[in-house]
């Protein structure tokens, strides 16, 4: 009877799902709906799976609970497994584990709320101190050198930040020398290492600019850049500084202390050095103005010479000779600018066989032979009558 009742309620046209189909569809819905989010709750029953090292625990509040799993790679960064009852923030993506049909959270980060509170309080304390001492004052900010050729980079030699900086600088300003002062940028001892590296920069006399940076990371990985020691060492660097820590959205206290804050290490490199192409254009412009400047100066002289051409005397002649010699050395760049071009216009200079310039009527007795210097050489001449 029961059987026929059930059969009678399912028509042959009704769609019947398999369990797998259902869980797959539900998984698609859940995982399509949520991006990774922060969730606050209390951890219970945290187990480290032997062999894999993954963590499995339950996160709960007063009304609900959800199963959580955290892969070994992420769990390692979270420190020791939390004890029952620890209140935490987790960064997680809601998911559905098909094999068990279970709704769960895939946790990538886990931060005890107590720790967050302590870190936040320390940050506020340091910030207030530095503010009081004027380290954030805009009046302290120094302009960056326009054409820095020697740049110190304080970062981890193994980090992505350094690779990015090298790539950008090589593309823009190869006439540059980068001096990398290696420092571990996260974990125990990072703050001391960075502060030490910054002090070392002050012992490099050739350095014109200092970049402090590291690539993106979790907030706690950037903690060294909020430390008082690092901020004070950065403020004491004798050359202008750029701070480039993490991604666009991360702001560290070093960003507030440095003369310039760059969003990323690549952006820091762009601000640190000029673009070679811009400077070449600037040189072209200067070359044109240089030629123009001399041309106007030379034509002024030429006008003056023309006005006094009737009384063209030895002094002018000597000056012309001297100037022509120099102009010839300057070659093509000067061609067309020379006041000597006055000879091209038909002026001529008479000289005695010994090279002396003939300047007075008395020197032109009838029958005297002399040479006449014209634009492209000289010709011999003789005085018919005076």
């Amino acid at each position: 009877m029961a059987l026929s009742f059930q059969l009678s309620t399912i028509s042959p046209t009704d769609e019947v799902w398999s369990v797998s189909q259902l869980t797959r569809a539900a998984k698609g819905l859940v995982e399509g709906e949520f991006m990774p989010i922060w969730i606050r709750g209390e951890v219970v029953q945290c187990k480290v799976w032997p062999g894999s090292g993954h963590w499995y625990f339950t996160l709960r509040d007063s009304a609900s609970q959800v199963r959580c799993c955290m892969w070994k790679r992420d769990a390692e960064r979270a420190g020791a497994p939390p004890k029952d009852g620890t209140e935490v923030f987790v960064r997680a993506k809601p998911a559905l584990y098909e094999a068990k049909g279970e709704f769960q959270l895939n946790v990538s980060r886990l931060l005890p709320t107590a720790g967050i509170g302590a870190a936040q309080r320390e940050l506020e304390r340091v910030k207030e101190l530095l503010q009081r001492d004027g380290l954030f004052d805009l009046a302290r900010k120094r302009p960056l050198p326009k054409l820095a050729c020697t740049v110190a980079v304080v970062t981890s030699v193994a980090g992505a930040a350094l690779r990015d900086i090298i790539t950008v600088v090589r593309g823009r300003w190869p006439a540059c020398r980068l001096i990398v002062v290696d420092a571990r940028v996260q974990g125990d001892g990072a703050a001391g290492a960075i502060a030490g590296a910054l002090r070392l920069v002050n012992r490099l006399p050739e350095v014109e600019l200092c970049v402090l940076g590291r690539g993106g990371g979790a907030r706690e990985d950037l903690a060294a850049f909020d430390s008082e020691a690092v901020c004070r060492a950065l403020a004491a660097v004798r050359v202008p500084t750029i701070s480039a820590v993490g991604h666009e959205t991360d702001v560290s206290l070093t960003d507030l202390v440095a003369d310039v804050r760059a969003a990323t290490p690549s952006a820091a490199a762009e601000q640190a050095v000029a673009d070679r192409r811009d400077v070449l254009r600037q040189l072209d412009d200067l070359a044109a103005r240089l030629a123009g400047g001399l041309a106007s100066r030379a034509s002024l002289a030429e006008e003056r010479l023309a006005r006094t051409a009737d009384r063209l005397h030895a002094g002018v002649d000597a000056a012309l000779r001297r100037e022509r010699h120099r102009l010839e050395r300057l070659g093509v760049q000067l061609d067309g600018l020379s006041p000597l071009r006055i000879l091209d216009r038909g002026y001529a200079v008479p000289t005695a066989p010994d090279g002396r310039v003939l300047k007075r009527r008395a020197e032109f007795a009838p029958g005297t032979s002399f040479r006449l210097r014209v634009a492209d050489g000289d010709v011999s001449a003789r005085v018919e009558s005076s």
Binding site: P145, K146, L147, C149, V157, I166, V169, R170, W173, P174, A175, C176, R177, L178, I179, V180, V181, D182, L200, R203, L204, R276, V279, L280, Q282, L283, L286, A287, R289, L290, G292, G293, L294, S296, R297, A298, L300, A301, A319, E323, R326, L327, R329, L330, Q333, L334, P339
Partner: protein, 71 residues
Amino acid sequence: MTTIAEDLSRLEEIVRRLEAGDVELDAALALFEEGVARLRAARERLGAAELKVQTVLEEAGGELRYTDLDG
């Protein structure tokens, strides 16, 4: 050896003085010559340059040791 920055700022100064037009011709020519030389030097330096990346370490005795780094 001068730096490109020094060359550029000297060039700016030379051009400004030439453009002002109150320099004696002799001095103007000398400035021009210097300008041409500085232009050439700056262009050559920009053209030939290859990025140099080094690390610096403080040795036990407090001395600094530079090492070339393959970028």
